[in-house]
């Protein structure tokens, strides 16, 4: 029977603490589906068990200050187990969401629907599974209890959007499946909204595999096939095992020795040219011989940065790694200002938020398990990284949010020492030019250029702003390029009378240093196009509404 491997992985960040002392734990237990408080739940930490009250609250005092296992039990729900770090003389607030086991006949899908992969939440989309339907909430989330053993397609539709389908979807009793379902805008209103059909050969569902194996993916679709993205051991946009464009077939090899032994899965995401998509999960078991005799070393160093771009489309942009990748003809054409070719695969242009975490290679590691947390307690597995960096474009990233990443090297012998680093995202902002206005006449020969910043939140203290102002004359030659920290700049000198000029904030950024994590966060105004650092020659960072051109005053003669 095809079964979906459970994808919910909760791992706590544990750093062994020495020392002694006591702390306490308190929190609320809720139903993970409906969010309602649950009474009479048995919550156990160490040898102490308490029950929740009518409001779902519990409290346990005098708990040893160390990493503690916490469990929660209630009839009709799966047993909840997690780890909680208790600190001396502190009260830890630890809320628990119980997953219904119902009659052991139901499993749950808890997914969020986003506009394109890694894009903004898509609210109001209709989710259909057999005869069941649900509608995504304002955060793009929906929940659905699904009978075990039933196999059907899960489809997501919305007016103006193409259709995304999760093909041959099933659940495991008492377990929750959690993942992201991307939905693209329908490229052309005249096109079909029928999603593709995907088949995989070379890997049977549930098969135990070792060494290398080769997979072939085929898709059939109404519109022409656009892309087949294939992922192994990855819930995110990256890393991915393969991408093939403009073909109905993708063939690639997977070296399973680079992954951890145990349950794994292949995830296929296939798009046609209308934007319709099909997701297919194929679970399998990796079973390689242990050929290492020692654990991998800890990583020698770690770097972390956060970037925020204020784009036109809102907080999260839409996936557009269309064409820009893997088109040698296209790639050839893009040059950096120094004339060097640009690697279009380096950074997608489509993202408003992304965090970069990179690390030095661990000696002896086959790969790295990467986890993300928003509270430094509950860590969610992102995927197995076979390289030493990760660009996190998750739709879960929001402005002003602290994010922790845990990187854990592994090899066939086991897991090495993990490293945890955190960073805080900055709000996004846009620069709007103010004066001199576009097409203004009689502008002073020593104009004060002014602009304003529209931010989506308050910048933390210590954030530094830099704006690069440029002024070009009528023949398009640059007469000024200067750096400003405030939202104005007085022209140093005199412009010519009766001349035509254009001006702009060519680039703008905010920067904040986090000494604790030795990390940097940046935010950039983004007039469409690419980034502050001028990664690609095309596209304009800086103001949203520039350039403004104007003519200068003529003295009375």
């Amino acid at each position: 029977m095809k079964r979906l491997v459970v994808l919910l992985v909760l791992v706590a960040a544990i750093l062994s603490l020495t020392g002694c002392g006591k702390g306490s734990i308190t929190g609320t237990v809720t139903d993970s589906v409906f969010g309602t408080p649950l009474a009479d739940v048995s919550v156990t930490v160490g040898k102490v068990t308490v029950k929740t009250n009518a409001e779902g609250k519990y409290s346990i005092a005098d708990v040893g200050a160390k990493s503690q296992t916490i469990t929660a039990n209630l009839t009709g729900f799966s047993t909840y187990t997690n780890t909680v770090l208790v600190e001396k003389n502190e009260t830890v607030v630890f809320d628990i969401a119980m997953i219904p086991a119902a009659t052991n006949k139901y499993g749950m899908i808890s997914a969020f629907v986003s506009e394109c992969q890694g894009g903004p939440a898509l609210a109001g989309a209709t989710v259909t599974y057999g005869t069941q339907t649900a509608v995504t909430d304002e955060n793009g989330y929906f929940y659905m209890l699904i009978e075990d053993g039933v196999e059907s397609a899960l489809t997501v539709t919305k007016e103006g959007y193409a259709t995304t389908k999760v093909q041959n979807f099933t659940v495991v009793s008492g377990k929750a499946s959690q993942f992201e379902i991307p939905v693209r805008p329908l490229f052309n209103p005249d096109q079909s909204k029928t999603p593709p059909t995907v088949t995989v050969t070379g890997l049977d569902a549930g098969a135990a595999v070792s060494g290398d194996f080769t997979i072939t993916v085929n898709m059939t679709s109404d519109a022409a096939p656009f892309a087949i993205y294939s992922y192994v051991s990855s819930l995110a946009r990256s890393p991915r095992a393969n991408v093939t464009y403009d073909s109905d077939t993708a063939t690639f090899s997977v070296d399973t020795t680079l992954y951890e032994n145990g349950d794994n899965y292949l995830r296929i995401l296939a798009y046609d040219y209308s934007g319709n998509a099909t997701i297919l999960f194929v679970p399998f078991l990796i079973d390689n011989a242990v050929n290492d005799t020692t654990l991998p070393d800890a990583m020698p160093y770690t770097l972390i940065e956060s970037y925020t771009f204020g784009v036109e489309v809102g907080y999260y942009s839409k996936q557009q790694d269309y064409l820009r990748e893997n088109s040698p003809l296209s790639t050839k054409m893009l040059k950096r200002p120094d004339g060097a070719p640009v690697d279009l695969n380096a950074v997608p242009a489509d993202t408003t938020f992304y965090n970069i975490i990179a690390w030095g290679a661990s000696s002896g590691a086959d790969g790295y398990s990467l986890y993300r947390s928003f509270d430094n307690r509950n860590y969610t597995w992102i995927g197995n990284m076979l390289t030493t960096s990760y660009f996190d474009y998750s739709p879960l990233l929001t402005p002003g949010q602290k994010v922790w990443y845990k990187i854990e090297p592994y090899n066939s012998f086991g897991k090495g020492e993990a490293t945890i680093r955190s960073i805080e995202t900055l709000p996004s902002y846009k620069i709007y030019l103010k004066t001199p206005q576009n097409e203004a006449n009689n502008v002073s020969l020593t104009p004060t250029f002014t602009w304003e910043m529209q931010a989506t939140g308050t910048f933390p203290a210590g954030a530094d702003f830099s704006h690069i102002i440029t002024v070009h004359d009528a023949t398009d030659y640059k007469v000024l390029e200067a750096l400003a920290g405030a939202n104005y700049y007085v022209y140093p000198g005199q412009l010519s009378p009766g001349y035509v000029y254009s001006w702009d904030i060519y680039a703008s950024k905010a920067e904040l240093y986090f000494p604790d994590s030795v990390g940097y966060s940046y935010a950039c105004s983004f007039g469409g196009g690419y980034d502050f650092w001028n990664k690609l020659k095309y596209g304009q960072p800086g103001s949203v509404n520039g350039e403004f051109y104007f003519t200068t005053a003529v003295p009375v003669q």
């Binding site: 490229f187 052309n188 209103p189 519109a223 022409a224 403009d246 940065e305 036109e312 489309v313 839409k318 557009q320 269309y322 064409l323 088109s327 003809l329 296209s330 050839k332 054409m333 040059k335 200002p337 120094d338 690697d343 380096a346 950074v347 489509d350 990179a358 030493t388 006449n441 690069i468 004359d473 023949t475 030659y477 640059k478 007469v479 390029e481 200067a482 750096l483 140093p492 000198g493 010519s496 009378p497 009766g498 001349y499 035509v500 920067e511 940097y520 469409g528 196009g529 650092w533 001028n534 990664k535 095309y538 596209g539 304009q540 509404n545 520039g546 350039e547 403004f548 003519t551 003529v554």
Partner: protein, 652 residues
């Protein structure tokens, strides 16, 4: 300029960081993210020409000379060890080599002093603004175009991949093909990277007049792919192969302007436009519409001349708006009179990358455009480069249906039949075009022309005098257009709406340190050219008198990067302070101070690593201090150069 180069280096450092995450320490990153403030000097350069940020060829420059003075140019070139690389006698321009030990800018400065030379400029590099390679993420706000007219009957090409070509539905191609699929006498010139004529899609397609504007040969091999993609959109026939272009029966003329290094210089574009003019002149039975999906920031007087020369021979230039996402001035899209095409999406909205501006003509499909690429393949590309050939193909159909239209009339017809007309906006111009309407009844002409002429023209007695900056204001006082006088001392505005304009010309007289400003009224009427002439008091002779020469070598000095010397002005007048190389090329900066230490002028012009700075300043009687330093004492700690001080005697 050096400072700009440094900034770029900083930016590129970050590119590498984000691209592959090379193991820079974060403190290194932090250092790189804090560039030195730029342009902190409080005085501006009086020289109105700067080429700092314009990519240009360091080996060649363009120069224009009156033919009667040709021997002066030849003599100067021979003396300075330069030679002529190309000559466009129609417009009086030459391309010459830059001698060793000269930079393009230092040599331009010298060329401008040669008798008979009216202009010299760098050979600028342009680019093909494509593909953006993004899908159609739109600005919010939706469409500004009106719903298009719909036609009942249509030719639907029976091509296997026609379904991939969404664009034809939005621009009413099928209804247009009912009226015409193009006349063989109308040639679609693809001024681009070449065309893969052997692509199976082009079986049965006629190619004429292949031209390689780099070497003058007929080799139009497309090493890039851009030109082949553009050609398929504009003029593939819908009778064979996988797809359908716009102008089926119109021959394609491939004109290659990208060299083997992947560069496009404006000399190639000039050569291409003049080739088209010559071809049209030699073949009176044909008409040419040219597509140039190419652009750049650098304003070139020679390029403007070449476009105007081609227009005189009936050649229409259709160009891409650019993929700059916002209002960015660029050329040739901002030259008055060309058809400037924005990119639209299947919902007839502007694609987010499409450059906006009041110079936009109309919009055409420009995202996920499926067309030919070399090697028999097809790809979907994004960009205004893909929109422009739709409009160029449409222009060919208009000319097929209405032979005899002038370039301006074709432009007018395309614009006034677009789906947004008569309303206009900066994003889509007159809206997404409607080819069926364009090949239908002729719309009234809305444009007239205005030729602004002046006497700001250099002579053998004056050398280079500079330019007049022209701005024209409509009856509401709004800026309606601008230009500069250039080497012919005029600017032709091909396309202005009828009405009365205030025309203002400002001319900076560097010798008198004075702006001379004149303003006149001119009335533009439909389908006519109005002339307005300006007469300035300009120098009739300029004599240069060498006053001082210093050979500077600070190797043994206390401050090795610094040199200063006092200079006494006994007679009020115009003085010239200029550095030049004395052996090793050096990037210098000159600052001029008055007797009490006020900074009067500063110049560090010219390319990083080069050796030429200059101040021209009108000075009253008094004592001054000239300071010469290496531009970057860290990089070039020892100053060795020449300093010359000259005076100008000017007669008006």
């Amino acid at each position: 300029m050096k400072r700009y180069s440094i900034l770029l280096t900083i930016l590129l450092g970050i590119t590498l960081l984000s691209g592959c995450f090379s193991p820079l320490s974060l403190s290194e990153i932090k250092d790189q993210l804090n560039p030195t403030p730029m342009n902190t000097h409080s005085t501006t350069d009086p020289t109105p020409i700067k080429y700092d940020d314009v990519p240009h060829n360091i080996n060649r420059v363009l120069v224009r000379i009156d033919h009667t003075y040709r021997e002066h140019l030849d003599a100067f070139l021979a003396k300075s060890d330069s030679h002529i690389l190309n000559e466009w006698s129609e417009i009086g321009w030459f391309m010459v080599s830059v001698p060793t030990n000269e930079t393009p800018l230092s040599y331009i400065s010298k060329l401008r002093k040669v008798i008979g030379v009216s202009w010299a400029e760098p050979e600028m590099e342009y680019e093909i603004p494509t593909p953006v390679s993004k899908n159609s993420v739109m600005l919010s706000g939706g469409s500004s175009a009106k719903p298009g007219q719909k036609y009942e009957v249509a030719v639907v090409p029976d091509r296997p991949q026609y379904g991939m070509q969404w664009g034809h539905q939005n621009i009413n191609s099928e209804a247009a093909w009912e009226i015409t699929t193009g006349d063989p006498s109308v040639i679609v010139a693809i001024v681009d990277t070449g065309v893969d004529k052997g692509h199976p899609e082009f079986v049965g397609k006629t190619f004429v007049g292949d031209y390689n504007a780099i070497d003058g040969s007929t080799d139009v091999t497309d090493n890039n792919g851009h030109g082949t993609h553009v050609a398929g959109i504009a003029a593939d026939d819908g009778l064979t192969g996988e797809i359908a272009g716009v102008a089926w029966q119109c021959p394609i003329m491939p004109v290659r302007v990208m060299n083997n290094a992947g560069e496009i210089y404006n000399s190639y574009l000039i050569e291409a436009m003049l080739y088209l003019a010559d071809y049209a002149n030699a073949n009176p039975g044909v008409r040419i519409v040219a597509n140039m999906s190419i652009g750049g920031r650098g304003y070139s007087y020679a390029f403007k001349d070449a476009i105007d020369a081609a227009a005189e021979k009936g050649v229409l230039l259709v160009t891409s708006a650019g993929n700059d996402y916002k209002r960015i001035i660029g050329y040739p899209s901002c030259f008055n009179g060309v058809v400037d095409v924005a990119a639209s999406d299947p919902y007839d909205r502007r694609t987010d990358f499409s450059t906006i501006g009041p110079w936009t003509s109309l919009a055409a499909p420009g995202t996920m455009i499926y067309s030919t690429v070399p090697g028999g393949a097809y790809e979907s590309w994004d960009g205004t480069s893909m929109a422009s050939p739709f409009a160029c193909g449409a222009a060919a159909l208009v000319l097929s249906a209405h032979p005899g239209l002038t370039p301006l009339q074709i432009k007018n017809q395309l614009e006034q039949t677009a789906q947004g007309a008569p309303s206009f906006n900066e994003e889509l111009g007159y809206g997404v075009m409607d080819i069926a309407a364009a090949v239908g009844a002729l719309e009234p002409m809305i444009y007239g022309s205005l030729d602004v002429t002046t006497n700001i023209i250099s002579t053998d007695a004056t050398g280079w005098l500079g330019v007049g900056v022209i701005s024209i204001y409509d009856s509401n006082g709004l800026l309606a257009g601008f230009g500069t006088t250039g080497e012919n001392a005029n600017y032709l505005f091909h396309a202005l709406k009828p009405g009365t304009y205030r025309v203002q010309v400002v001319y900076y007289d560097v010798f008198d340190d004075l702006y001379r400003i004149q303003s006149k009224s001119a009335t533009v009427a439909r389908e006519t050219t109005t002339a307005v002439d300006f007469d300035f008091a300009i120098p009739v002779s300029v004599t240069t008198t060498p006053l001082e020469h210093y050979t500077i070598d600070q190797t043994a000095a206390e401050y090795t990067y610094h040199y200063q010397v006092d200079f006494t002005v006994a007679t009020e007048g115009c003085y010239d302070f200029i550095t030049s190389s004395s052996g090793t090329a050096l990037d210098t900066a000159i600052t001029l101070y008055d007797a009490v230490g006020n900074e009067l002028a500063y110049n560090d012009d010219h390319e990083g690593g080069h050796n030429f700075s200059r101040i021209i300043k009108k000075l009253p009687v008094g004592t001054y201090t000239v300071v010469v330093e290496t531009w970057d004492p860290d990089e070039q700690p020892i100053l060795t150069c020449n300093l010359d001080i000259n005076s100008f005697t000017v007669t008006y």
